[in-house]
Symmetry: D2
Amino acid sequence: MKQIHMAERAASQPPDVQGEADPRRIPIDRVGVRGLRHPLQVEDRSGHRQATVAELTMTVSLAHDTKGAHMSRFVEMINELGEPLSVRSFRRLLEGMTERLEAPNGEIEIRFPYFRQKHAPVSGVASLMDYRAAFIGRRHDGHTDIWLQVAAPATSLCPCSKKISEYGAHNQRSEIMIEARIEDIIWLEELIEIAEGAASAEVYGVLKRTDEKYVTEQAYDNPKFVEDILRELAIALEADERIRAFRISCENFESIHNHSAFAELARDKDKDKDAALR
Amino acid sequence: MKQIHMAERAASQPPDVQGEADPRRIPIDRVGVRGLRHPLQVEDRSGHRQATVAELTMTVSLAHDTKGAHMSRFVEMINELGEPLSVRSFRRLLEGMTERLEAPNGEIEIRFPYFRQKHAPVSGVASLMDYRAAFIGRRHDGHTDIWLQVAAPATSLCPCSKKISEYGAHNQRSEIMIEARIEDIIWLEELIEIAEGAASAEVYGVLKRTDEKYVTEQAYDNPKFVEDILRELAIALEADERIRAFRISCENFESIHNHSAFAELARDKDKDKDAALR
Amino acid sequence: MKQIHMAERAASQPPDVQGEADPRRIPIDRVGVRGLRHPLQVEDRSGHRQATVAELTMTVSLAHDTKGAHMSRFVEMINELGEPLSVRSFRRLLEGMTERLEAPNGEIEIRFPYFRQKHAPVSGVASLMDYRAAFIGRRHDGHTDIWLQVAAPATSLCPCSKKISEYGAHNQRSEIMIEARIEDIIWLEELIEIAEGAASAEVYGVLKRTDEKYVTEQAYDNPKFVEDILRELAIALEADERIRAFRISCENFESIHNHSAFAELARDKDKDKDAALR
Amino acid sequence: MKQIHMAERAASQPPDVQGEADPRRIPIDRVGVRGLRHPLQVEDRSGHRQATVAELTMTVSLAHDTKGAHMSRFVEMINELGEPLSVRSFRRLLEGMTERLEAPNGEIEIRFPYFRQKHAPVSGVASLMDYRAAFIGRRHDGHTDIWLQVAAPATSLCPCSKKISEYGAHNQRSEIMIEARIEDIIWLEELIEIAEGAASAEVYGVLKRTDEKYVTEQAYDNPKFVEDILRELAIALEADERIRAFRISCENFESIHNHSAFAELARDKDKDKDAALR
C-alpha cells in the first residue's frame, strides 16, 4: 500500500536531483543553510522563557558519492521546533538533524541577542542589558560537543594612562567574549557574570547620577589592560570543572585611537593538560 | 512642600550638569540615544502579539539655552513600556517622550525583525518568513507623523536577459522597501503583501520540489526591472487613501554583477497633489 | 553610411528592452547602481593624489514613459574616469552622467576611506589617521549641489561624570560627522580639522607614553557632551561663508552603557536665514 | 654608555607599565591591534602595484610573566612599511614583528579589496571587478605559515530548479572563498581564476547586451549546487602542488529564499594524506 503511494508520488513528483550519485569522490565537511532568521524562546536561569530572534547556521557532512544535501529539511526542523532553547533541547536538535539528514557529522550555530535585568549599583534602578549569545554544537562520529558563547559589553580603563597622567585616565567600551565547551549545564548568566567581573566596571542600561559617580570611580580604582581582563577570565574559567575548554577574547574600542586593542586565548583542559604554562 | 523636598534632594544628589544654562545660542534638532536594544512585543494583524528584539533611536529637540538632554529618561521609558507596540501605543510613547523630556519636538525609530507565516504555493507547507520592519514617529510643533516601514526580500527576473537569451534569464534576490506615512491603522502585513505582490516571485522559508518548480516558472513568466517593481508599488500605494505619503525603493543584488541595480521614489500626496506626472 | 551601420547593428544586436515605452505614467526619482566598488585617486590639500577604494551610488531620474535606465553606462563612466577626484572633477562627472543618461536629474555618492598624516602632540611621531569621507552631488533641473562629508573619530569626556566624581571621568570614542554644501573649494582636511577641534581630544594612530599623558589630561581638562561638540561645530561652520548648508552629528559610543549618545543638527543658510535661533 | 642613556630616559620618561612583571602565570596566545586601517600597495601578477586600503589585525604571544604588549609598535611598523605587499614582503613583516615585539609567536591578517580588469565575454569591453582578498601569516616556534585568501563573487544556477521546471531556473549571486597555505609564490589572480572557473558563470563590472545573453545562457548550460562548486574547487586545489592546505567555502544568496545555501571544506595535504576519501 505504501509502495503504491510512493510510486504515485514518484510519478507526480519532480525528480530528486540532490539524491543523485556524484562521481567526483570528494566528501564535503559542512553543507547546509546560513543566515536563517527565526524567533526563539530561550530558557533562562530564573526559569523563565526569554523571547528573542536568532540567526542560524545548520550544516551536515556529505558523503563523497552523494550529489547534494536536502536543504529544506534544515528549515523544516526549525519551523517544527516545539520547545524553548536550552542545553538539553539544543543537543536533541543537533542529534535529530544528523539523523534526519542521514549524516555522521553535523553542526549548528544559533546566535541571538540575550537580555538580563540589572540593577544600578547605588540607586538600584532596574533596566535591561543586552548581550550577544550563541549555542554552538558539533556532532562528529557519534560524539557531541556543546559550546556556549557570550559577548558582554564592559568598561576598561587603561592602567598606563592612569599611572602616567596627573589626572584622568582614558577608558572605553570593551567587548568581552567567552566561548566554553561544557560538560554539564551552565547558564548564560554565569558566563556573563564571569565576563563582567573581569572588567574595570560593568555597563548598565540606566544609571542615575549617583550610579554614574560610582562606576566612574570604580573604573578609575580598577584599571585593566586587555591582557589583565583575559587573565582574570582564564583564572575563573580554569577553576570551573564544568567547563572543559574555552576560547576567550577582549576587544577595547580605544578612546585615544581609531583601532582596537585585542587579546585572545584558547585552552582545552582535556588536551592541554601539561601546557598551561608554556 | 515641594520646594523643601527639592532642596533636600539637591543636598544629597550630585549636581544636574545637563540642566545648566548654555550661552552659545544654538538650538539642537535632535539629541538622545541610539543603538539601544530592547525586547518588544508587536501586535500583528491576526490579533496576536509577536515577540521580537528592537533597536531604537529616541531623540528630542533641545532649546538653545539648555546645556544637555537627560539621556537616562529615554532608556527608562523603554524599560517601563508595559504594552505591545502598535500604531496607537507608538503614538502614546512618542507624545509621552516629548512631555517627559519637556521638548516641543521628538522622534522615535524602532527597528525590528518581523515574521509572518507563509504557505508554499503548491504543497501548502507552512514556514516563517522574516522581514525588516520599523515604526518611525516624528512629533513637531504639536503635530505627530507616523511612518511604517517594511523591507521584504523577493525574487526579480531580468526582462532584458529573458528577451535576448535563447533560454534562461538571470534572476536574483531583491529587497523591496516601503515607508508609508499613515493616517489610519495599517498593518505591516498589508505593506508586506504590496511589496511581495510587485516582485517577479515571492520568496519562502521552505519550498518543496513542486513549489520550487512553481516559483521558478512564475518568475520566468513575470520578468521585472527594478523600475517595474517600483511602478507597481507606486500604483498600489497611490490608490490607498490611508497612506498620505510614501518612500519606496528596490535593490536587486544582481546575479551577473557584483553591484546592485537600485531605484527609489518618494511621494507626498498632501504636498505633491499636482506633481504626480512631471 | 552611419545609418547602414546602425541598421546592421540592429540586425545583429539584441533588442533594447530598457528603451521601450512604459504606459504606467509613473516617473522615477532615482534609478541606477549601488554598491559599486572602484579604486580612486583623491586630490588632497597638499597637492598630492591619495589612492583609495570607493563605494559608489549613481542614479538618474527616469521619465514616466521610458521603461528603464541603461545601467551599464554608469559603470562604464567610472571605468573610463581618467582624473583624480576633486570638487571640480566630481562636478564634471555628475553633469556628464546626466547628459550620458539623458536625464534632467542625477545624483552621485562616492564614499571612501581617507587618510591624513598626523603628528603626536608631544613626541611629534608621525602616523596616518583614517576617516570616512564622501562626495555627494545632486543635479536637479539644471542646478548642481555639491556636498562634502567627513566622519572623524575623536575622544569625548563626560562633563557630568567629571563633575560628580571624586576622581576620573568616563570617556569614549566618538564619531563626529560634518556634511557641508559648498559654494567654493573646501578641502576635506578643513572639515576634518573643524570636527577634531570640537572634541575633548583628538585621536591618533601612534602615541608614545608622553603623548598618552598629554591626551589623557587634555580630555580631562576639556569635558564635552554630544551637545557641546555639536554647538562648537555649528559655530565654526556658521562662520565659514564657503559653506551654504550643513548637517552635523556626533555619536558617543558610551563607555558606561551599551548604547550611544547622539545629537544631530541641520542648517541651510540660504533657506533658514531667519531661523538660526528658534 | 647605553645604561646611562637608559637611566636618563627613565628620568624624563613616564614609567613603562606594560613592561612590568605579572604574577598570574597565564601566557596569552594573541595580543595586539585590530581594526587598523592603512593604505597599501599590492604587487599584482602583471608586475604592477595596485593601491588599496587594508584593514589589519596584528598580534603576538605574550609570556606569562609580562604584564602587557607594547601596542604602539604594531602601528609604527605599518606606518614605516616601505615596500608593496607581496608574499615575500609579508613574510618579512611578520618575522620582523615577532622580533620587534620579542615574541616567539605572531600573526598578521591584512584584508583588502582587490581589483582585476576583466573583459566581457563577447564584446570584449574592459571593466574592473572587485574581490575581497587577504594575506594571513602565522609564525609559531620559528616556523612561518603563509595563507592567501580570496572571496570572488560569481553566478550559481540551481540544477534542481532547472531539471524540474518547464523553463527558467533560479540563479543568484554567490561568494566563493579560497584560503590556501602556500609553499611557493602564488598570485591572488590564480586563486581568483580557480574560484570563478568553478561557478555556473562569472560576473563582470560591465556587460553589453550580447554579453548578457552569453552569460545568461552559459549559466543555464552549467547548473551547479554549492556542493558542485566546492568539489570543483577541491579538485583544482588538490592538483596544485604549491598549495599545501586549503579551506574553501561557497555561499549562495538564494533568489528563492531569504537565507543562504552554504558549503565548506578544509584539507591539509601534509596532515590528511590518507584522509582524502573518508
